[in-house]
Symmetry: C2
């Protein structure tokens, strides 16, 4: 804990220079050591106008088919106005370079996308029918351009695309479609961030412009979370010094903070969505390509043939989620519970021989069995979600995220739940039964008496809960971060070494080395080598990073009352995490396709769920463990079920009430995004009004006629007679012509009425 | 209860003919008995093209000012293209008839309104700039026309209206602005409804076309509620026969029904909103005219000067809601609790003299004190809401509705809550202390022993709760309905009698009778007399009727487990209520201004709140009173606090889970409204695409060039040298021209790679 108190300050300059060095080191690794320094720098600086690279792998196909398919690929791309160049790739692959040659197709795609946005309310005004003009008024930013080109390549032919679907159906040989990193920008990015305390909105705008809104939303979320963490870190530190653990004051402040943060973020999403012009894009349904239809129906609206899959059949398949959740809960739960039991027994009950060795058993089991189980369950979850056969990408993602959240929930929090709500209240009842383990180690026992002695004198270890929370919020976070950064690096390093060894062996065996670079022109070779390395990198998955943050938030909302320094640890961790993720995207991953998003998606629900659950666990923990006279202090005999339930019940409803109040207050606040939205709307409206109302001005006012008619008002009788042959309506409306006549008649009526009153009053007197 | 079992069937034909007769009777009352039958019928049939009638009352102003103001009124109306006719009104008022003379201003208002709708997403497509054309394509329905004219009269001059604000500021003498009833339609309406079991969507469309969406939404809600009631009525009847009171099965079914209904209605609102073209109108902020600004700020968006009122100041004022709620709860609570105490004491404990008289004390107190308190508190609530000074009409309505809901909640449900959760569990502790009343009646006591005897032998009356629920769900509903129909009728009758008497006295005193009809032309007199009567009618307030329905729903969700026949009573009551409300609008009220709405507004929140609270009360009641072996059966000694809390806790969370599931299922369902919305969007998109994509077709495909270049592919070397002086990008992209060349080169690369593998494999062999 003493390392925590030192704070992040002395570490940061070191990290700054370190991270810059790591970046240089890593990017250097991407270019071969054999090329000259000039060419290396050149290869890093320029992408030679390449928009996308398509990696085409033909190892599993025969020569003729591969060549024919490739020809088709080139033709399809050419049909949508893309220019192609082919170069040799690594082991049985070629790299197809693609750039936009004819703007018309790109503009067509942009127009189509903008019309779709406008129909769904993402844009306030309809796009001008002159695309070239409107593009000049509102030029594409880099991410938008890349996204549009990607859609041009992958969209079905019927929607104006080339219909290339990587790794699927006809295009199984198309391994990946990726854009090239902008290394000059990346270097500046990492350098800037590593010397900056807080990221401002311009930094996020920058990410949005380069990597698209989906990734920008992850960084915006983490940055908001990081900024919000400053308060609980400071307050938590004070609480740790003054109040100690399980303080109800800390519990309330923490719950309030979590609620405010969750609600603030919801508003922030809207704001950023408007700022980035993507508000509402998540409502645009994108059809899933893998969707399997039972039959085709004629859409009653569009008249098109659309695939149909009955909802009841999907519901039946969704019911499989119940056994899945049960199996996940039971298998993961069984592993965690077993390890928990063994650990409690060995560390607290058992005092026999080999204790120093046996104590590692649970850690051993957890670190081997859990990742295997996790991988297995994730595969099952993915298959199950595929089987559920959703029509839209959004529905698919939500369903998958929910399953993954359930698994993560069990893996991350079950251990602490067991300690708090099983071990402490029921420990004295359960732990003696852990004797079964005793039987196993009995052969090793030196004397019988020692074993007997320990089991009887056992009492609950009150520090276990705190230690466990510290483990999850400090140790596990650091380990995670290390794994994220170092493992892929080592993996890549090892892979490079293996290939070096392989080609060396090949060179030893035969004369001609099958090097991919053999045909490269000397001018391009550094560039091509870099592209070949980038082709081998992994695809970045932003949801994994989001999941990590949400799980971390869960520790804070559920258990931070156990150890108030939690937020301090997270604050430090997240500062590094933000930068490490940026570096990961730049160095260890292919440049991601810049998808749009206007939310962090289903994880937002997880966030709300964790905040709500926090109101239950925090109040329960405070009631059970607060060591003051008011509470029962973790002694099971003094815990009253009714009092616990009452505490939780009140806490939950206070939370719901408070959340409602926060929502109202936040909805009232104005923000730059909302202002922008109103301004856009106002401008469109103003334009329309001005066009129309200028026409209105020309209408002659009826007053003009009125003046004319007043002169004629004396001719009343003449008119009366002329009306006699018209309709009742005509007669009714014909009596007074123009407002002046009406006013004159009314004056008479008013005077008459007033006179009558006066007369009447006089008579009465 | 036996009257309930008879069912509504025999009653309905009677009601049908009765209601027709009442309608004829009542409308006949509107026309004077002195005019001829022909004229009467004529006056009822035709509105003589009158769009609106403005009642101008000058009793409190002097002659000159009244006439000058009236002149100004006529001029303002004329300026917006309205023709005016003035006629004499009743006692110191004139009636100003208004109709549209120049369409341009009306069209301008329609255009302005449609642009506003389009900007806010209410309309899918922008309105055509040629209003006359677009009006021909999409003509105004009656309610739309009337609303537009009303807005033309009342909107500020700056927004193109005449700026007439009834009863306010400059226009204080303008008493009311109302349209005339369409009696021919009204008669058909009542006749049709009284012979119809269920109302279908066309009936609701009809109301929407005549009376506007806001009133149509009330009828749609009540109709949906009525239809939904059929199931709980049938199930409740079966439960009453088989299961008895407090059955957990009935409780679950009832909670499920309430949840499904609430969520269904939310979806139905969207559907109807789309059907009626008003989806999203509640999001269009309408500025409140009474809004008092502290200072004027320049709007950053529009550049206009707008009133500003600081949110913190409003929040301080809103804090007054806390003392208000406390005072309301305490005062109403005190009255109800006192009456409850007296009633329990007199009916159950007291056995002394005058019991038969004393038993009416609580009813007497309730019926006198409660309405007074209610009126007082409603006034305070209205003033408080005015004081809170909301900027928009919607915010004002919500704030007022919330306050009124709190008051209604206390008045309607507190009594039953007291019985269920105070009287039963704590009755044995509290009731003996009600002895204080004993002291008061002691003088009347005949013998001391009798008094003493009763207090000790007292035990809880298990039937009290059921009786109370029956009172509120049957007796009170019938009384309410009666009050709603009969009291206004008697009031109007009495008022007419009083005026008759007055004018008779005036005629006796002086010669000249100040009759309003004195100046009427014989042709118009019947019509004018009818208009004068309509001018005196009350203004219809749809929220009062909505409140009644929501409060009724509350009994069902909160307490119907006590008496399962509740829904049967409501089913009968609501069938009549729907028709009675229609009649009320037609006969007893001025024709309402047809406002738009896309929801039942803040009452929707009340509905959700009551559904949620129902999950708590129903489970608690079932736990406490279920007379089987499983539960404690209402005997206070057997009620365990922890078990009660656990029951409620589980029930609430089951409810939340179930509501979530229902929401998901309902959101998946397609509906005619949603289909219409999609169709509208699709058509707009299609139109845009077609215009643009026809231009796209003309772009020459790159393939054409490809063929030409293949021929040249042998000239490779020559091209290489010609490229040497261009940029690196130019050189990179110049190597292969056209997709055919790329494919050819790729073929070579693929062959080479395959050959190498073969060679390598051979060598290894």
């Amino acid at each position: 804990m003493s390392t925590q108190k030192e704070g992040p300050v002395p570490g940061i300059p070191y990290f700054t220079s370190l991270s810059s060095n790591i970046y240089l080191l890593k990017t250097a690794l991407l270019t071969s050591s054999s090329s000259s320094a000039m060419a290396k720098s050149q290869a890093l600086q320029s992408n030679l106008d390449v928009d996308y690279v398509i990696s085409y792998r033909f190892a599993k196909t025969d020569k003729a088919t591969a060549a024919a398919k490739f020809e088709k690929l080139c033709e399809a791309l050419s049909n949508v106005g893309l220019q192609t160049e082919v170069r040799n790739g690594d082991s049985h692959s070629v790299l197809l370079f693609v750039r936009v040659a004819s703007d018309e197709h790109l503009f067509g795609e942009v127009y189509r996308s903008r019309v779709r946005d406008w129909i769904h309310g993402v844009r306030a005004a309809a796009p001008s029918k002159e695309t070239r003009e409107s593009l000049e008024a509102e030029p594409l930013y880099e991410a938008e351009r890349l996204r549009t080109i990607y859609q041009l390549i992958t969209n079905p032919v019927s929607e104006g695309g080339a219909g290339i679907t990587p790794k699927e159906g006809e295009w199984e040989s198309v391994e990946s479609i990726f854009a090239l990193h902008d290394h000059a920008y990346n270097k500046d990015w990492i350098k800037k961030w590593s010397s900056q305390w807080f990221l401002n909105t311009e930094d996020l705008d920058d990410i949005r412009n380069r990597l698209g809104e989906k990734i920008a939303f992850y960084f915006a979320f983490t940055q908001s979370y990081f900024t919000f963490l400053v308060f609980p870190a400071a307050f938590g530190f004070a609480a740790w010094l003054v109040l100690g653990s399980f303080s109800p004051i800390y519990g309330i402040v923490s719950a309030v903070w979590c609620t405010v943060f969750t609600e603030y973020w919801k508003q922030q999403e809207i704001d950023l969505g408007v700022r980035w012009g993507v508000k509402g894009v998540s409502k645009i349904d994108i059809k899933r390509r893998d969707f399997q239809h039972e039959k085709t129906n004629t859409d009653p609206i569009t008249g098109e043939q659309v695939g149909f899959f009955s909802a009841s059949k999907r519901f039946q398949r969704q019911l499989l989620q119940i056994p899945f959740a049960l199996i996940a809960a039971l298998s993961l739960g069984a592993v965690i519970t077993t390890c928990f039991g063994i650990e409690v027994f060995i560390s607290e009950v058992y005092n026999g021989p080999l204790k120093s060795v046996l104590v590692f058993i649970p850690t051993g089991i957890l670190t081997t069995v859990n990742p295997i189980l996790n991988t297995l369950l994730t595969q099952v979850a993915t298959r199950l979600t595929d089987f559920e056969n959703y029509e839209t990408a959004a529905a698919h993602d939500t369903a998958l995220t929910q399953k993954i959240f359930v698994m993560n929930f069990i893996m991350s929090y079950l251990g602490i739940f067991l300690t708090a709500f099983v071990y402490v209240p029921f420990g004295t009842l359960i732990v003696p039964h852990l004797d079964i383990f005793n039987v196993a180690v009995r052969p090793f026992a030196e004397d019988e008496k020692q074993l007997h002695h320990t089991t009887t004198s056992w009492s609950i270890n009150p520090d276990r809960l705190r230690k466990q929370v510290i483990y999850f919020t400090v140790t596990a976070q650091v380990v995670n971060l290390g794994m994220e950064l170092i493992v892929p690096y080592l993996k890549r390093r090892g892979f490079a070494k293996f290939k070096q060894f392989q080609s060396a062996r090949a060179a030893k065996n035969g004369g001609a080395s099958p090097s991919a670079a053999a045909n490269d022109s000397p001018e391009d070779s550094a560039f091509l080598e870099r592209v070949r390395k980038e082709a081998e990198l992994d695809v970045y998955d932003v949801t994994a990073d989001l999941r990590e943050m949400v799980v971390q938030f869960g520790y804070l909302s559920l258990f931070s009352v156990v150890w108030p320094l939690t937020a301090v640890s997270f604050l430090i961790n997240d500062w590094i995490e933000l930068r490490a993720d940026a570096m990961k995207i730049c160095v260890e991953m292919q440049r991601p396709v810049p998808w749009r998003a206007d939310t962090i998606g289903p994880w937002l629900d997880s966030l709300s769920f964790l905040t709500w659950l926090g109101s239950l666990t925090t109040s329960a923990l405070v009631y059970m463990f607060w060591n003051q006279s008011a509470g029962p202090g973790g002694n099971p005999s003094t815990i009253q079920l009714w009092a616990l339930l009452l505490t939780v019940f009140f806490s939950e409803h206070l939370f719901i009430l408070f959340r409602w109040a926060v929502r109202i207050v936040i909805s009232k606040l104005d923000s730059p995004g909302l202002q922008k939205e109103r301004r856009d709307r106002f401008l469109v409206r103003k334009q329309y009004f001005e066009e129309n109302l200028s026409a209105m001005e020309k209408i002659p006012r009826m007053t003009d006629n009125g003046g004319e008619i007043t002169r004629r008002s004396l001719e009343d009788d003449a008119r009366q007679s002329s009306l006699s042959d018209s309709t009742p309506e005509g007669r009714f409306w014909g009596r007074q012509r123009g407002w002046r006549e009406t006013a004159t008649v009314a004056k008479g009526l008013i005077e008459q009425a007033q006179n009558e009153t006066t007369t009447e009053r006089k008579k009465e007197l």
